[in-house]
Symmetry: C2
């Protein structure tokens, strides 16, 4: 039976490999989860898949785990970015958590013309992505980028990366991506969720002029940004991604 505790570690995993624990990890495993010598932990590092490991040393300030057997291969998410404008703290945390669960490869908080947020705590958001990956059984952790201005990102947008752009002004319109993009032809994509205050006219004009951009409606009601993120990721994963 596989271990119930899953832990992300930044350390190579493999047969016979031992993994040293940080003070926080030791506190979590031995203090919070009450694991002891020989107990099992599932480990992943974003590169080597999932490995079963056993507690080989347990201390208050550290410890060691010993890998035994690989329990899942590395499974990379599709090459999908999620761009969103940070909102209130709890909802921003939720968006990052949900993007990791839903299988985004990279999470980019963006500053739009109508975004109030001047800065984010990138380290805190990255920790949320790690926790979500631990929880959802993923073998990969999406990278959370630093806050970037949307206009800067768009002016340097990769030519081959398509952009699904969710505009609440389209409420009630089509929620399908063009048929031309089939699952059999995977290419880089990004999803852009509009800010709570909507896009500015300048941003809308710019997006409309981009060949890679595809506007999509998320139903007839106006969704909050965190709801919109999950809904958009669902549509994309279902039509183009790794959902069966």
């Amino acid at each position: 039976m596989n271990a119930k505790v899953r832990l992300y570690v930044d350390h190579p995993l493999g047969e016979g490999q031992t993994v040293p624990l940080s003070r926080e990890q030791a506190h979590y495993l031995f203090g919070v989860m009450r694991l002891g010598m020989g107990d099992g932990v599932a480990l992943f590092n974003g590169r080597d898949g999932e490995w079963q490991a056993e507690v080989a040393e347990a201390g208050k300030r550290g410890g060691t785990l010993a890998c035994t057997v690989q329990s899942a291969p590395l499974r990379l998410p599709p090459d999908l970015w999620l761009l969103f404008a940070p909102i209130k703290k709890t909802r921003t945390d939720f968006i990052v958590e949900k993007a990791a669960e839903m299988g985004a490869a990279r999470i980019l908080p963006v500053q739009t013309d109508h975004t109030n947020s001047e800065r984010i705590r990138q380290d805190r958001l990255q920790a949320h992505a790690v926790e979500a990956a631990e929880q959802c059984g993923g073998t990969w952790v999406p990278e959370v980028a630093d806050l970037t201005r949307l206009d800067r990102l768009l002016s340097d947008w990769p030519e081959d990366r398509q952009l699904m752009f969710c505009d609440e002004a389209l409420a009630g319109g089509s929620s399908a991506l063009p048929d031309a993009f089939a699952k059999t032809d995977p290419r880089p994509w990004a999803i852009l969720i509009g800010p709570e205050g909507g896009f500015s006219e300048a941003e809308r004009t710019r997006l409309a002029a981009m060949e890679q951009a595809h506007a999509v409606a998320l139903g007839p009601r106006i969704l909050r940004a965190d709801t919109a993120a999950v809904a958009a990721l669902t549509l994309w994963q279902r039509q183009l991604g790794d959902w069966g």
Copy 2:
């Protein structure tokens, strides 16, 4: 231009109709939102569509709004129920909010074999549904039912109501509903989100034996219940509901 403040009221709306305000509503409009005489408010009651109204009397403990013109017709959601097992407070609140935004007609918290929750605050959850409807521009508020045992609901399940049943044990399987259910043939449906601890074997057996039940996978990762609710509602609305 339409009013920016939207308010649900339990009162008839129509041309020339006046609407008395409760103490809480007066506090919100005049204390929090700082509205004054003649300012506009958008009203809906779940029956008469959306109406523009003006402040006709403003007091500390009450006031009156006068309807002027209908700004949107009543738009009923599809006949879709969302069944879910209550979890931690914040996430339960989120599920109710998201179900309202995503256009569920009725929200039913259910007690499963692996649910820890013995009771819910139905009134608080209903208030969340109202707030979400105010926010998302809906003209309808889903009813939040009292906590019911899942086995009791299933043993008395309506013959003509289909059930989309999201089982994390299926992770990686198909996320499509049978083609037989087309948008052109709308019928009553329900979505059932599994509890965090998963369904029991007894529940799984019972669901498998129901002709109306259709198991659906929500991608290859394990989603938290609130993420799963939005993802399932998206799949359903896109394939069978009111999304374009």
